[in-house]
Amino acid sequence: MRTGLRKWSLLLGAAAFFALPLTSWAQLSTADIASRDNMEAHIGNLTGHVNARSTYDYKRYCVSCHGDLGDGNGEVAQWLDPPMWPKPRDFQMGVFKCRSTLTGSLPTDEDLFDTIARGLDRSAMPQWSQFTKQQRADLVAYVKHFSPRFVTEKPGTPITIPPEPEVTPERIKAGREVFARVQCWKCHGVQGMANGPSASTLTDDLGRPIAPFNFTEGSRPKCGDTDRDIYKIFMTGLDGTPMPSFADNIKPDEAWDLVFYLRTFMQGASKAKELAKTMDLKPVNPNP
């Protein structure tokens, strides 16, 4: 018995000894992160750098949520309770929701640049639109330098978005069919109210509860509220969340149909919404 205990102690001790470096991961990653201080961001004519200004701005505006190490463990992260208040992004993972690039790839610098100014609706991430463009470019470099992915991988190529066609009743009906076919309703509900049968079971990649987007609430979609933004959201997916990319399931033309159909759920004036009023548009039937 005692010999068995001793053996287990030795085994566990040895395991812990070899696991110890993992505990000092945070300390190691500080040096690791610092090694990427030469990270740059390129947005149009602007070049962003990790410099005194971006360090200052990050520590003034971002650190309380995203943490000193960009790991999403800032001092207030503990008070953010998902799904109501999503946890801050862990920049070290290099996984971002709002991209113009295919799922699984890194976002472009412009994607991160836009996200900083746009903020993320229904989260604690405000719209930091008061920054100068140079400040934002520098912050993009600063955000990137947390993740080794930006050293080893290149950003994905932005998807091609065909020109937006004219919205017609036929296109709205076609969008409804796409909505039914790819089973958007399972999470978003048949009327876009985020009450589909799977809604309450969703978790993000880290196992934390997450809520689907409620189209009827009046909110702006997280990654922008233009028709092109909505197109991008379901063709690129929101990485790190259960929202997949439908690039393989939806043809570009069909994607516009879906955008128009989704607009019929959303508050605010739109031609799709106006047309929907004149149509006998019933919610999709989940049990045909």
Partner: protein, 495 residues
Amino acid sequence: MHVLSRSSLRKVVRSAISLVSFTLLLAPFVLISAKPAKAIPAFARKYGLRCSACHETWPILNNFGLKFRDNGYQIMNDRDAPIWQNPSYWPATFRMTPIWHRFSNLQAVDTYTGASTANPYGTQAVERITSSGVDLSGLDFHTGGTLYKNISFYLLPSSDPTGAFHFETVMTRFDNILGSSWLNIKVGRFELNNLLSEKRAVGLTADGGIYQTYHFIPVGDGNIFGQMGDNQLGIEYVGHSYNDRTRVSAALLDSNDGNVNLTLGANSYSGFFTFDQAVDAGKWDVQRLGAYAFVGQAATYYKTSGGVPIAGSGVGNKGFSRIGVTTQFYFGPHFDVNFVTQHGEDNAWFGQGYGNAVATDGDGGVTCTGPTATTPGCPPNNTPGTTLSALARAPSWNGYTIEARYVYSPTLIFLGRYEAERMQQQATIGTPQNIGNINLWDFIARWNPFMSNRAGMALQAEYTVMHQVGTGPTVGLTTANLNDNEILLGTDFDF
């Protein structure tokens, strides 16, 4: 020397291995679970942002804070309404300022020289009086925030240094009407849309705690209504671009200087208009340039009953104006300069002391109830038949405030301010040109030992010097200049 036996040695080694194993097993959990102890004011607590997100240094707003305020205390994330908050959240903040304060000024002091039965105090001489001690510069109970999406309020009961309370701010806001950031309405008693906010000044001394430019009136002038630094009663329209780069406001105000109960010019109104535009200056940050105009009318004649002015009966309106430009220049993240100019003009009646016949204490209390003509110290009343002297004319002046801030970090700021007020035209022909001119210097070092999203505390050292020509004590026929200096050391905290 005690020598261990072989078996004892094995036991010790095994025990040591077990202890090390146990420690190694626990180490990851201890290291992973170790969190820094964190210490929230109302809005920071609501949104989980540090004070420094909205404040250049607390309480001065930065551009993000300005946008947050312009949006009706909302970050516009569709989770601003209280329904989304934890029910235990209460949007209240207390601000207190225990200080040590040294105040030194000139006063007319009895010398007892030549004292007699008829004149028991003798002659007077101008003498510097200096007093010091632990003091309070005020106590504020702030509560404000959203009532519903795009509907918010602010309530601020505040005490003056004597401990007397009044409602500094009471207002309701309706923002983003029709979904437009250009359509926001504010009703109640509120601070005017001054780019350089007096209510957010870090100065705590008596002279340095206000902006002289916002309160200046010529010596003997009776227009207490054009006080840009005082919170005013009225309704204000504010519009701004989505990113708050362009801001415009227009307020219709009672000419009451914020006094409640319609005690003063109940039948007169004034307007306060502002416009400012910010530009992206790259690495130099955002630069802002604006202008304001405060124009209005106020009563000079209050009807009387038995000679006593009747509150709220003001008629005989005369005009006044204050116009100027404001700038906010940032030179990178650590240094900024704020500049406000003013050109002011009052009607000649105000210049002769008319306008405040009911004489209030500034918070609605009436301090002069005697018949105007017979009670010394009561302001004059423009009763029927009153005429102005041939020497009377409309006073005018120019002034400016320049405030430079070195923000080493959000927790450490050094601030220097200079204010100059210069008479352009005196109210009475023959009055020396410089009577009433002001020079003020204020130097502040303010350090926040901690500033979290839960609470903030600042340790402040401040030195203020103020000179005003011809408003010091009068001895015989000679009036000295006002010559104050103040030293303040203290704490300023909120939670």
